[in-house]
């Protein structure tokens, strides 16, 4: 009975969080940016006299190259604000004093952020799939693995953003820290560890490359470009070549990052006092 009531409350919190997000200016900005990316990728090549690609894979590859940035932007705009705003904007005084567990509030908020960014990304993939089909007349087969990797990345970045959100007093600070942590700090650590000879497969930035590297045509195209550059400059580019993704390993790494960050965030959130 209690579990059923908790689940009902999670859905209630998630539903109203999504409603809040969808009426906010942030959502408008995020939707507009995503739409702009889609429109530019789809139509700009034709405006410039080219085409989207000769094969469905080629056409699709251009879209997947922007996925991780869009996901990070979504996590920054929604998940990094969701916990801290309850304290900053004093709405906790209404919500937290009700017969609802903190863990239930947390779960509802996590669910809303994941569902919102996840749904936008699924829509993005569908548009990419259809655009590739329309441009080349053929179906892309690596669509699902890449989308699964994308959703794993949504889970990971939502967890990280909520962890940052539970640490700070201001939503603006939490947003900046989330964005910079995932975009700069994690890759710097990866790069330093890699330079020291450590295999950085467990780092979030490395795992997230599976979003694009799970598309064989993307790997082929990227390596082709690198090879041509190497030949033109007379440099050996073999160290920079990308490899086809190990989706199980990369997906597991991203889910693990999400789970650890989410649990740490939950521990902080449930202990936080007003």
């Amino acid at each position: 009975m209690d579990v059923a009531d908790d689940l009902r409350q999670i859905i209630q919190v998630a539903k109203y969080e999504v409603m809040k997000f969808m009426r906010s200016r942030k959502f408008l900005i995020y939707s507009a940016l995503t739409a702009a990316v889609v429109l530019l990728i789809t139509f700009l090549p034709y405006v410039l006299g080219g085409n989207l690609g000769d094969t469905a894979g080629e056409a699709f590859s251009t879209y997947v190259g922007f996925v991780s940035l869009l996901v990070l932007l979504g996590a920054t705009l929604f998940a990094s604000y969701t916990l801290v705003s309850e304290f900053e904007e004093r709405t906790a005084l209404i919500l937290f004093t009700r017969p609802i567990k903190r863990v239930t509030i947390f779960a509802g908020k996590f669910l809303s952020c994941f569902v919102l960014v996840g749904a936008i990304m699924v829509a993005y993939y569908l548009v990419a799939f259809l655009a590739a089909l329309a441009a080349t007349g053929s179906l892309i087969t690596s669509f699902l693995p890449s989308m699964a990797m994308c959703l794993a990345y949504v889970f990971a970045t939502t967890g990280v953003a909520m962890l940052v959100s539970s640490l700070f007093k201001k939503g603006g600070t939490a947003a900046v820290v989330t964005f910079l942590a995932v975009l700069l700090v994690v890759p710097i650590v990866s790069s330093a560890a890699s330079g020291a000879g450590v295999d950085t497969w467990f780092m979030l930035d490395q795992a997230s490359t599976a979003i694009s590297n799970s598309v064989p045509e993307y790997v082929e195209m990227t390596n082709g470009v690198l090879e041509s550059m190497g030949e033109a400059m007379g440099v050996d580019m073999s160290g920079m070549m990308v490899q086809a993704a190990d989706c199980v390993r990369s997906g597991s790494v991203m889910v693990a990052w999400g789970a650890v960050a989410t649990l740490a965030s939950l521990a902080l959130f449930t202990r936080r006092e007003f």
Binding site: Q12, M19, I94, T97, R98, P99, K101, F274
Partner: protein, 312 residues
């Protein structure tokens, strides 16, 4: 638990080296409207925040309807409405949507929320604003909505932490009127309200709990506090005004302890334990100074100041 719907037992809250609540124990009687008083930093808000699960006590217990808030906050807060300080709402929602959100959380059906929403918005005089976004509301309007959401689900306990704080005089009067109406409409409601505004507490409450330095210094009925005051301060208005002759005449009246000018009026300290107020007025009327009004001073304020002084 002595059947008290709110029971505080040996409650302590320490922040770093500062003790905000120091072994505080008291009970709030069923169906009472209890004023929770104390100077700034006395521990009122901390106590109410512990009661509403916003902060955890260092030690001790706080029970709501017999359930320890620490042990089972969800169960303890069932059937409890709260307005802590000046809460904010989700600006993108309307009052109707906010009530539906809160109603859903406390387990109300959509039908019962819809039905109660109309009734409550009418009660807090916000019916015409039901579908406007909360971000456009003034502080006074938001506070009325805050009071409204506290009434959802017919709670048996309402916890109010300075509900009129920061409002203009009109806003304060509106909230006070709403609280009076809530009290009159439902006799089976236990309310605890912290406030700095003593005349507001005197007007609304039938019991007083007073704290200072996190410790209990008074827990009594309002009537007994009034009686216990012994000496009452009254304000006399007269045609002659506060002339030396009038002050001299008033000071000679039986059981008058002291007299002083108070602007255009005369302030009298009168020993109510020895003489009736009606006799005082009759004596003042016979002085020939044109006495036409005698108003009671604030007995709670006197008692409050005495107790705060003693507990320093």
């Amino acid at each position: 638990m002595d059947g008290n719907p709110i029971e505080i037992a040996g409650l302590c809250k320490v922040y770093g080296g500062f003790t905000a609540v120091d072994n505080l124990s008291f009970g709030v009687r069923r169906n009472s409207f209890t004023g929770f008083l104390g100077p700034n930093g006395a521990g009122k808000s901390t106590t109410l925040k512990i009661l509403t699960n916003l902060i955890k006590p260092t030690s001790g217990h706080a029970f709501l309807n017999g359930t320890d808030i620490r042990e089972d906050p969800k169960e303890a807060l069932t059937g409890v409405g709260t307005v802590i300080e000046t809460p904010e709402f989700y600006g993108y929602l309307t009052p109707r949507e906010t009530f539906r959100y809160i109603g859903g959380i406390i387990g109300m059906t959509n039908e019962s929320v819809s039905c109660q929403t109309e009734e409550i918005l009418e009660k807090v005089k916000m019916s015409e604003w039901a579908d406007k976004r909360l971000s456009t509301f003034s502080k006074g309007m938001r506070q009325r909505i805050a009071l409204g959401q506290a009434l959802l689900g017919d709670p048996s306990i309402i916890i109010l932490d300075e509900p009129t704080s920061g409002l203009d005089p009109r806003g304060m009067a509106e909230i006070r009127d709403i609280l009076k109406n809530i009290r009159n409409d439902n006799g089976n409601l236990t309310i605890i309200m912290s406030s700095h505004i003593l005349h507001e507490v005197e007007d609304l409450c039938d019991r007083i709990v007073m704290v200072n330095h996190g410790r209990l210094i008074l827990d009594d009925d309002m009537d007994r506090i009034r009686q216990a005051a012994g000496v009452e301060t009254m304000v006399l208005k007269s045609e002659s005004g506060p002339t030396d002759a009038a002050i001299d005449a008033v000071s000679r009246v039986e059981n008058v302890i002291s007299v002083r000018r108070d602007g255009q009026d005369i302030e009298i300290r009168y020993d109510v334990s020895k003489g009736e107020r009606s006799k005082l007025f009759a004596d003042l009327a016979s002085l020939g100074i044109g006495a036409y009004s005698l108003t009671e001073g604030d007995s709670l304020e006197q008692r409050y100041l005495e107790l705060i002084r003693e507990s320093r």
